[in-house]
């Protein structure tokens, strides 16, 4: 776990914005996404874009995501990503 504190509310907004940004690169329509929507099932991101999202999460929050953690349960939605990140950093009090 990293020692720096992370504002999880801001993190949620950043993560959602990042997904939308990645989706915008390949979509002609303005993408919409609920925090509980399963990202792979929305079709917003292809595999390469999801991989880009994973690398971004690692860099942005300074965490390492094990390859075996790349599951729907851990990182399938904005909410699950926030939960995963929260478990690997020190949430800001």
């Amino acid at each position: 776990m990293t020692t720096h504190a992370v504002d999880m509310a801001a993190a949620r907004n950043e993560i959602r914005a990042k997904v939308i940004d990645l989706a915008s690169r390949t979509s002609t329509k303005k993408p919409t996404l609920g925090d509980d929507d399963l990202i792979p099932e929305t079709g917003l991101l292809d595999s390469a874009a999801i991989m880009e999202l994973i690398v971004w999460i690692e860099t942005r929050f300074d965490i390492e995501i094990d390859q075996s953690d790349l599951t729907i349960e851990n990182l399938g939605s904005v909410n699950s990503i926030v939960q995963y990140v929260g478990a690997h950093v020190r949430p800001m009090a």
Partner: protein, 381 residues
């Protein structure tokens, strides 16, 4: 016997690297896999490992040198007191698999034609880069009597800029600028195809729904975050290549060289850099292992953090441009491979699988049979 440790190619787009860290010095004992140096490109740093146990006899490069990929970085010996050969005597090569005491390196196809034209043999001409090239022959002829005028028309074989010089086309006014490392690397790759391989291309329309369904079921069953479609296709290619040695071969000195393992190259676009990441011994991996290994490589490429073994030794390759809605692409063969399979977008359930192949190694029928085998998923997926 002294053995050279060559400067590795870290990706197709860089043919020089900078030596940023030396971790050993002459006289040091090293073991196989031990880090001996660190090099950097414009994009990332990479470590260089010793490929054997032994002693460092000499380090040929200095810190912060910009050095050619394939040049001798350092010499290793079984004992610390072996004498280091002079580079002029042995050449400095990434491609050469021969020891300093072995027979002269084989000429490239077009160099062999030029040698024959002038009644020379490969042993007459010093190789500058592991194999005798047209440029080597031309240099030899230029410094020996006669010949210079005879080779004038051959110049375009080795140097694309010469090709434009000798053409009748007028070049409009403009400025000249050097190529970037990525552009030089790509030039080098396409020149291998032009100068060495005899490329052909086959294409097959196939029912993409079977693969999409298999990938969806696999993803749900394994609870994967990412669609495994491309990984499963690439893994299928590796397994097909393992069953057909011709696919996993190349031509070396007019003989077929069948690789002992299937190392699958997979193209990954990261920003403006195109990597050919390599899953070593891919056919020996199970589906899930392969998917995870490829995933690690994709993440490494996106972070520009791939290591030398991740980028070297491809014996067969796979490329997809489906995510950009490309309906057909004809990829260039990575050096020393016989086939690269090209995956493109599908429409109304019909997809396209193509393959660029080296006609010296494979017939069109061979390539088509491989593509056809890949076009349907295995029942065990």
């Amino acid at each position: 016997m002294p053995t050279p440790l060559h400067t590795p190619r870290v990706n197709n787009n860089d043919d020089t690297v900078r030596l940023v860290k030396l971790l050993v010095k002459a006289g040091d004992a090293v073991s196989a896999g031990q880090l001996v140096a660190e090099v950097e490109t414009d994009k990332a740093n990479f470590t260089v490992e010793s490929d054997r146990d032994g002693y460092v006899l000499a380090v040929e490069k200095a810190l912060n040198d910009t050095i050619d990929v394939g040049s001798v970085l350092l010499w290793l010996g079984a004992t610390a007191d072996e004498r280091v050969p002079t580079l002029a005597a042995v050449g400095a090569s990434a491609d050469s698999q021969t020891s300093p005491e072995a027979s002269p390196p084989a000429p490239t196809l077009k160099a062999a034609q030029l040698l024959a034209q002038h009644g020379l043999s490969a042993s007459d001409v010093p190789a500058s880069a592991g194999r005798v090239t047209v440029a080597d022959v031309e240099a030899f002829l230029a410094t020996h009597s006669g010949g210079a005028s005879n080779v004038q028309n051959q110049s375009s074989l080795s140097n694309p800029s010469n090709a434009s010089n000798t053409s009748n086309l007028a070049i409009a006014a403009g400025s000249s600028e050097p190529l970037s490392p990525e552009e030089r690397g790509m030039l080098r790759t396409v020149l291998w195809q032009r100068d060495e391989a005899v490329p052909g291309y086959v294409e097959l329309a196939y029912d993409a729904r079977a693969w999409e369904q298999a990938a969806t079921e696999y993803q749900k069953r394994e609870r994967l975050l990412l669609s495994p479609l491309l990984a499963l296709l690439a893994h299928r290619l590796a397994r097909v290549a393992a069953q057909n040695r011709k696919l996993n071969s190349t031509i070396v000195a007019d003989r077929r060289h069948a690789y002992s393992s299937v190392n699958l190259g997979f193209t990954i676009q990261s920003d403006t850099t195109l990597y050919l990441a390599v899953v070593q011994n891919a056919a020996a991996l199970g589906c899930r292992e392969f998917i995870e290994r490829l995933g690690q490589l994709q993440r490494g490429a996106l972070a520009h953090a791939l290591r030398t073994p991740d980028l070297t030794g491809a014996t067969i390759s796979f490329s997809s441009m489906a995510r950009w809605n490309v309906s057909r692409h004809v990829p260039v063969l990575p050096p020393h491979t016989a086939i690269i399979v090209a995956h493109a977008m599908s429409r109304d359930g019909i997809g396209t699988l193509g393959a660029t192949y080296d006609h010296r190694v494979l017939t069109g029928y061979d390539a088509l049979a491989a593509v056809r085998a890949i076009s349907t998923p295995e029942e065990t997926v």
